[in-house]
Amino acid sequence: MAFDTSKRSSYFLITPMAAIFAIFLVIPLLTIVIVSFWDYDEYRILPDFILDNYSYLLGSSVTWKIYLNTLKYAALTWVFTLSIGFTVAYFLAFHVRSLTWQIVLFMLCTIPFWTSNIIRMISWIPFLGRNGLLNSALLNLGIVDQPLEFLLFSDFAVVLADVHLYTLFMVVPIFNSMMRIDRSLIEAARDAGASGFETLRSVIVPLSKPGIAIGSIFVITVVMGDFITVRLMSGGQSASVGLQISNEIGLLQYPAAAASAVVLLITVLLIVVGLLRLVDIRKEL
């Protein structure tokens, strides 16, 4: 090892990061777990040990509906971001031939990611609204007789915005996996008589799996915990788990929010553990 070999320097170097994670990640999550057993009234939260928050949450049919709805958003967003993201990454990695162009087109895809999510959601309003561009175009072309109402403030709008916001999370890791595929494997497949599609199916897709898994983890966890997209794009007509938590926070029902948060966290972790069985993230860096 080139560096100072004393282990103390490693501990010194990692301390700031460890401290921030301890104070702003571990302790807050423990706080949530503790508070989820507390009681509350209109004004304050009261230290206690009760299971009411959980029994109320899990006993309510609304909760199950909300979970179903959130899972639906997550599943739809996952399907679309994966198919679009994979196609885009495949095009960039295997059909764009010069490295310069690959970088330029890749940058083109990533730039919107650096701008505000909320602004990107708002930007759909003039496009999808009742008098928006899409409706005007459809009316002018005579495809519809009256403006389509389902375009904005609907499940359609929520999923569209999610796909718009998060497809990049798929493109980046899949592109990364694809760029590491040894090109001689592709040639070998072709020499062995595989068609383009066969090569794609039996060489490229299996070798892109780590990227697909990482992208899926990102997209699914983000959508599972999301509340802004659902609130803005459904116009308050739909619910998600995140939105429910944020509403409970708004009503100062912190213990109830904490119980919802714990259940959400467990759900998300289960999904992630399931996906991690497919890939060892640390090997992919």
């Binding site: 070999t5 990692i14 702003f24 990640l25 706080t31 949530i32 939260i45 650096w114 561009l133 995140g242």
Partner: protein, 275 residues
């Protein structure tokens, strides 16, 4: 790369068309609000354009009209810069630490991954509750700063992993053989080599913080950051001033990207000249 250019297969053209549509999908909506932010004084939230004016941009800077745009922008800018500096320094240190195994390294690694996948609103809620219970006043430069760091550190650390996995330690060995101290080795050998990646970390952390909403929600205290202000506006502002705000903040993000890319190119060129 094949030297002789093969004829492109038909699938190339389909995929190229798909890619073009994807780019249109990404940029189209932003383009519409950019155009609409120059809406005339009597124009509304949708097309047609009712004249052309800078009215809504002017409106943005009148304090009473749309909340405290200037104040929240300044706060977000300061917060973003603090997050950026802390993330670059701490991720770089952690990256160095992770080059060797140490006890607890996998705990830190899994904490970073956890930090990435725990829904943002939980971080917000947890920190908010913690501050509530110990009766500290949440402030943008304490609780919100911590909340943002839990979001930027994982990215910083993962980028550092990627960098150091491809880093050849023999350069450092050479420096040490020539009598360089630890600090000199870092300053003259390691830093210049990982510099462009650190700029990447800087840009990443600044923009992530500058645009962060969910983690700020319960941690910002009484003073709004820009995303909170924008969010407030979406519920009660029904004029194109919203688009003007979108155009201004997006323009600002582009400026940051431009500066970051520019400095990476500059570093590359300087390195090239030296070599």
């Amino acid at each position: 790369m094949a030297k002789t250019r093969e004829r492109r297969p038909t699938s190339f053209y389909f995929l190229a068309a798909f890619f073009t549509l994807f780019v249109l999908f990404l940029y189209g909506p932003m383009l519409t609000i950019f155009i609409l932010s120059f809406q005339g004084e009597n124009g509304g939230l949708t097309f047609p354009m009712n004249g052309f004016s800078f009215h809504w941009f002017g409106n943005l800077f009148e304090r009473q009209a749309v909340g405290d745009f200037g104040g929240s922008f300044t706060r977000s800018l300061k917060l973003g810069l603090i997050v950026m500096i802390v993330t670059v320094v701490v991720s770089f240190m952690a990256g160095l630490a992770f080059r060797r195994r140490f006890r607890g390294d996998s705990i830190i690694f899994y904490l970073a991954i956890a930090s990435l996948i725990v829904p943002s609103i939980l971080i917000s809620l947890g920190i908010g509750l913690l501050f509530n219970i110990v009766e500290w006043q949440p402030q943008w430069f304490t609780s919100a700063l911590g909340a943002h760091l839990t979001w930027t550190f994982p990215f910083g650390l993962l980028i550092m992993f990627a960098v150091f996995n491809r880093f050849d330690p023999s350069y450092e060995e050479a420096a040490r053989d020539l009598g360089a101290s630890n600090w000199q080795t870092i300053q003259y050998v390691v830093l210049p080599m990982v510099g462009p990646s650190l700029i990447g970390v800087a840009m990443f952390s600044f923009t992530l913080s500058y645009d962060e909403f969910a983690r700020t929600l319960m941690t910002a205290g009484s003073l709004n950051t820009l995303p909170l202000e924008i969010y407030g506006m979406t519920t009660n502002v029904t004029t194109p001033v919203l688009y003007a705000l979108g155009t201004v903040t997006t323009g600002f993000s582009f400026l940051v990207i431009g500066i970051a890319l520019g400095s990476v190119l500059l570093m590359r060129r300087r390195k090239g000249q030296k070599a």
